[in-house]
Assembly symmetry: C2
Homo-oligomer: 179 residues x 2
């Protein structure tokens, strides 16, 4: 950030009065430009013991497999975001269930939320951001080609919890990127 | 948003190629300025069947009571944010437990997360953003003077769940502001 989005003047990094950390503050209109983490919301759609994954058509991690997920937008809830992303990336109709994983990725200022879901039918197909969409049994999951660590962790939690058929909220902090 | 924070040129609202909603896009350097919801993280600190509340020293809702909570910062996890806010607003030392409520407030682009916590001692005192910090038994909760609906909902969930001493993740969507 170099310029004030309100008045166009240049901004500087200072600690505002009453605050305890540096913020971008406008030298002209004094607006403080806070920067905060973003939420990535998605789903873990399953059908007959198989999990739906999308092959990414865009960077980052083009060609790698992911659960349908993306940045939460303004004016929607976390659950609406998870459903929207599942529609956009996989054109999949789902019955969405409870929040299943909350994974912090602090070094890139993101919090990832995945909801469990059941596919309503098999009429899914790749959206603009996907090259392919497919169902995978546990033994066929392409573990080496999973796009993001939060997706890999969510899948690991799922296959482990499925043995007892109990799916409490799972949380984890990912310290640095490893695909 | 009127000006590009990268180059200072004016921005316009357009739907970028491959997107499906309007974004602020710079007319000169073409940077897309996404806007996303923010996370408010806090705690529900208890001690001997009482709940810790803070009387707000700042707007909005100055003079009203809240659980310690605030905007999550970059470079921290949701749990770290909840602990930090509890320290800043109440100087309270807590053993933090599991995530307890996730409440969407879509019309103001916020997601509120409250963790259950146990006070380690009673040496708490008001921080800069609080006028007072106090413990309340259920019968003494100032329901009419609670600062935010997400705090009120979290307290209601807690006193209800406490009867069975079971505290599953509770979720709710708040449709519009009512204090």
């Amino acid at each position: 950030m170099k310029y004030c989005s309100q008045c166009g003047h240049s901004v500087g990094l200072i600690i505002p009065e009453g605050d305890n950390r540096e913020r971008f503050v406008c030298g002209q209109c004094s607006v403080i430009h806070y920067q905060n983490p973003r939420i990535v919301a998605g789903s873990l759609p399953t059908y007959d013991n198989k999990v739906l994954l999308c092959k990414r058509a865009i960077e980052p991690q083009l060609g790698y497999w992911t659960l349908p997920a993306g940045f939460m937008e303004n004016d929607e809830t976390t659950l609406e975001a998870a459903i929207r992303e599942t529609t956009e990336e996989a054109n999949a109709k789902i019955d969405i269930q409870e929040l299943y994983t909350l994974i912090n990725v602090a070094h890139i200022n993101q919090v990832h939320l995945f909801y469990r879901a059941t596919l309503i039918d098999l009429d899914f197909y790749a959206g603009q951001e996907s090259l392919d969409v497919a169902l995978f049994a546990e033994k066929d999951i392409p573990w080496e080609d999973i796009a993001f660590p939060t997706v890999k962790e969510t899948l690991k939690f799922y296959f482990s919890d499925r043995k007892l058929n109990e799916f409490p909220l799972r949380t984890k902090d990912i310290k640095r990127f490893k695909s």
